[in-house]
Symmetry: C2
Subunit: 189 residues, 2 copies
Amino acid sequence: MTGQPEIRIQLPPWMQAFLEAAPRTFGDDTQAMDMAIALARENTRQGTGGPFGALVLESASGRLLAAGVNLVVTANCSLAHAEMVALASAQQQLGHFDLAQVVPGGCTLVSSAEPCAMCMGALPWSGASRLVCGARDQDVRSVGFDEGDKPADWVDAYRRRGITVTRDCLRGPALEVLRDYAASGGIIY
Amino acid sequence: MTGQPEIRIQLPPWMQAFLEAAPRTFGDDTQAMDMAIALARENTRQGTGGPFGALVLESASGRLLAAGVNLVVTANCSLAHAEMVALASAQQQLGHFDLAQVVPGGCTLVSSAEPCAMCMGALPWSGASRLVCGARDQDVRSVGFDEGDKPADWVDAYRRRGITVTRDCLRGPALEVLRDYAASGGIIY
């Protein structure tokens, strides 16, 4: 063991065409969330992962910088949550580990569901300064996913770091994707 | 943007030879931590990242499954903490996102420093069932690194999940690597 020279998380083949057919810039949070939810749904439909999608946008313009879906099972990697994939993809495309240093005005992470404990811890390190969530923590747990152990006051903790949070953006449709996945017998992990 | 088909985190070229010269099996926590600290020190000496090292071991035998160092700057990826690199490397080498399902008796994550909020959230998803830490949270903060916002009772929260925690393993030498890095003017992020 220990012989593998790199870690690789490949985005699913369908994603490129899916993104090319979608808007490159989003006028508001609802439009962006609609896209994050569409990615979550397509990911389950294609059988490439769990019902979660995320986008990284340039906050000032609404321009799409990167997208992610949950690839835990297909990438053999428990780190490959949609938010992590989107953040890492944005960073590697921009060539910097800190989005705040390369995107004037900052970045927004749009996630079809409230981030789990890992993704919540990851966001401040990414340099994103805004989070928009669809489904709530309890929605994710209600279909059987584990969200982990988060600080009780995470929204306040983010605010103290200068990260703003918008919740319940298209919460209903976001929850629907989770419920449809669970009802179809999708793997819960 | 959004054109990159994969996320890649390359392990530094020196690491292969370093691991080949080191034990493949560790008789106890102290021996394993000595190796994690050596990786942290070599990573700073080689200029490939921050002063953090981690190992994933098969708990029953002490056999090394994977190693990681902090590659945030060199990989252009804020997710590439030592613990994350070690866990993802173990999973991808073993071909499964859940180490508990492919390693009888479970895995141990040995980290030269207490995991930050992100890595702490990541460990339960990895399937590792034991954590051994060197430097404490306050040691990491004392040299200027941010550890993030963790649940106050994270050790108890882990215990409730069946994950055991051993702290202060070679804490002094682990802290020394952090101090040496800070004193040499290394990037703090």
